[in-house]
């Protein structure tokens, strides 16, 4: 596999867009949750949203999915866009008997062989008939990822998928997400709960704080003065761009490259 840096932005930059927010604003109770947000997810591209709690990460993603109406600006999606969504803090009601296989067909019909293959991709093929209520946090998170993947989505939206997963699990998850992009070439919008770890395969990091505070490659963002002001120099120093273990790369130390003007709010 080629290192994430050389691929990605070059290739994905020209790819057709899957979903795009332009000057997006969402207002609730007279207050702007997010405003002036520009965001594009292209085929084969991984976009990571980071930002403090309440910065509008989920709001932005949900607007992009058509779950919230834009009060300002607009959302465009490729016609016939198929979406695989892994919502944040998803839980299945205890009274609802649901096997992993049945969870996989919640929003659409799939062959058992396809279900088995998707579960195999995330390493829990043997849990195909297990009740979802018996799964551990990590297993459930994998099942949810497999559920989104079995749909063969153009766009995969993962809202804090590493929540409740330990550090090793988080690293494994990021490897898996990188591999998914490699194999399937879908666009991925990832919301990260962790400000300090951004997966290296990310092409574009968008840092939100009610507006787009900065955006660009992981290196650019971690060195951006806006980012440093928002999270403090200590946090910025701790930012590690997590890279695929084949890379053996460490924290960024390159020169500051200005972010693209178009990505600014």
């Amino acid at each position: 596999m080629k290192p994430g840096r050389t691929r990605g932005r070059g290739a994905a930059g020209n790819a057709p867009f899957l979903a795009r927010a332009r000057d997006l604003g969402i207002r609730r109770g007279g207050r702007w949750l997010v405003r002036h947000v520009d965001l594009t997810v292209r085929r084969g591209e991984i976009v990571t949203l980071i930002g403090p709690n309440g910065s509008g990460k989920s709001t932005t993603a949900r607007a992009l999915l058509g779950l919230l109406k834009a009060d300002e600006g607009h959302i465009e999606t490729k016609s016939g866009l198929s979406v695989g969504y892994v919502p944040q803090a998803f839980a299945i009601e205890r009274t609802l008997p649901l096997s992993v296989a049945r969870l996989m067909t919640l929003t659409g019909r799939h062959e058992r062989s396809a279900i088995r293959a998707a579960l195999g991709d995330v390493g829990i093929e043997d849990l195909i008939d297990a009740p979802v209520q018996r799964l551990s946090g990590g297993e459930f998170q994998r099942a949810m990822l497999a559920r989104a993947l079995v749909r063969k989505p153009d766009l995969l939206v993962l809202d804090e998928p590493a929540q409740g997963v330990d550090f090793a699990g988080e690293i494994a998850l990021y490897d898996r997400i990188g591999a998914i992009r490699e194999q399937r070439g879908c666009g991925i919008l990832l919301i990260s709960h962790d400000l300090h770890i951004v997966m290296a395969q990310t092409d574009t990091v968008v840092c939100l704080n009610g507006h787009v505070c900065c955006s660009g490659t992981p290196q650019n963002v971690s060195e951006n003065p806006e980012y440093r002001r928002l999270f403090g120099p200590a946090a910025a120093r701790r930012v590690a761009v997590y890279r695929h273990h084949h890379d053996h790369a460490h924290a960024p130390d390159g020169a500051i490259i200005p972010t693209e003007p178009g990505d600014h709010a």
């Binding site: 919502p87 009274t95 609802l96 008997p97 096997s99 929003t107 659409g108």
Partner: protein
């Protein structure tokens, strides 16, 4: 010996149980027992409206229950009050309004208890046809919205994000619920309809491996409870509705006992 009226009630009751079981599963999964109760109580307002306007009772009950159910769907999103408070207000207000309205319609002799507790004598041959037909149509309707409704039950935003139309499925579900309440009123009575919806479904949970399986078991258990209750009602000369619900409760309690024995064996 089985009298004619008894066979009629049995057939009509089983037809209603077949649809009440699967619909009741969603009440259990979505935690809307109180919601079901509220719509059921509003059915008496339907009875009163039917009497006042000289409409067919079942039709009037269906219309009023459907309006109340859809209004609740709408209100839940628009008010600053908690859902259960709105339900509490509507549940008792509709019941009270209905009782007031029926009292005002003096001159018409109304057997209130028959509506509240069910009356198997009230089931005619035509009713069996109506109940079986409407039950079959309702089951077909439920089958059509099954996937979006189940996805909505698991997570509304997931269903919407992935291109299903959960709002429409929910509205159809409300209409089906209003329909089964209008049908079940004659068998178990307005006050006890919720029991026919939720007790078989709750009992089925233990034995079910999947949602469809649970719906099937609930339908079967509902039919058993209707039959058991009606036989008991005939033997003991007790009102049909309470007898059916008592039978359902006995089955539920039995399943709990069975479960605790199984648990002890496993330990």
């Amino acid at each position: 010996m089985l009298d004619d009226f008894f066979v009629r009630a049995l057939l009509a009751g089983i037809a209603v149980a077949f649809i009440a079981g699967p619909l009741g599963c969603f009440i259990v999964w979505r935690r809307m027992a109180y919601f079901g109760d509220t719509i059921a109580h509003s059915a008496l307002l339907g009875v009163a409206a039917g009497l006042a306007l000289n409409l067919d009772t079942t039709l009037a009950v269906f219309i009023v229950a459907a309006v109340v159910a859809l209004a609740l769907l709408f209100l839940e999103r628009r008010t600053h009050l908690a859902g259960d408070v709105i339900l509490g207000i509507l549940s008792h207000s509709t019941l009270a309004l209905a009782l007031v309205l029926i009292a005002l319609l003096n001159g018409i002799n109304v057997d209130l208890l028959a509506y509240l507790l069910g009356d198997i004598l009230a089931v005619s041959k035509d009713d069996i046809l109506v109940m079986s037909g409407a039950g079959a149509v309702s089951l077909a309707g439920l089958a059509m919205i099954w996937r979006p409704l189940l996805a909505d039950t698991a997570d509304t935003e997931l269903a919407r994000a992935e291109g299903l139309r959960p709002e429409r499925a929910r509205a159809v579900y409300m209409l089906l619920l209003a329909g089964v309440i209008a049908l079940a009123m004659n068998i178990v009575g307005i006050l006890l309809i919720t029991a026919l919806l939720i007790i078989p479904a709750a009992t089925a949970r233990r034995f079910a491996a999947g949602p469809e399986h649970m719906a099937l078991i609930a339908a079967g258990l509902g039919a058993v409870c209707v039959a058991g209750g009606l036989f008991g009602s005939l033997a003991l000369d007790t009102p049909s509705g309470p007898s059916i619900v008592a039978a359902a409760f006995a089955v539920f309690a039995g399943s709990l006992a069975l479960a605790s024995i199984q648990d002890r064996k496993n330990h």
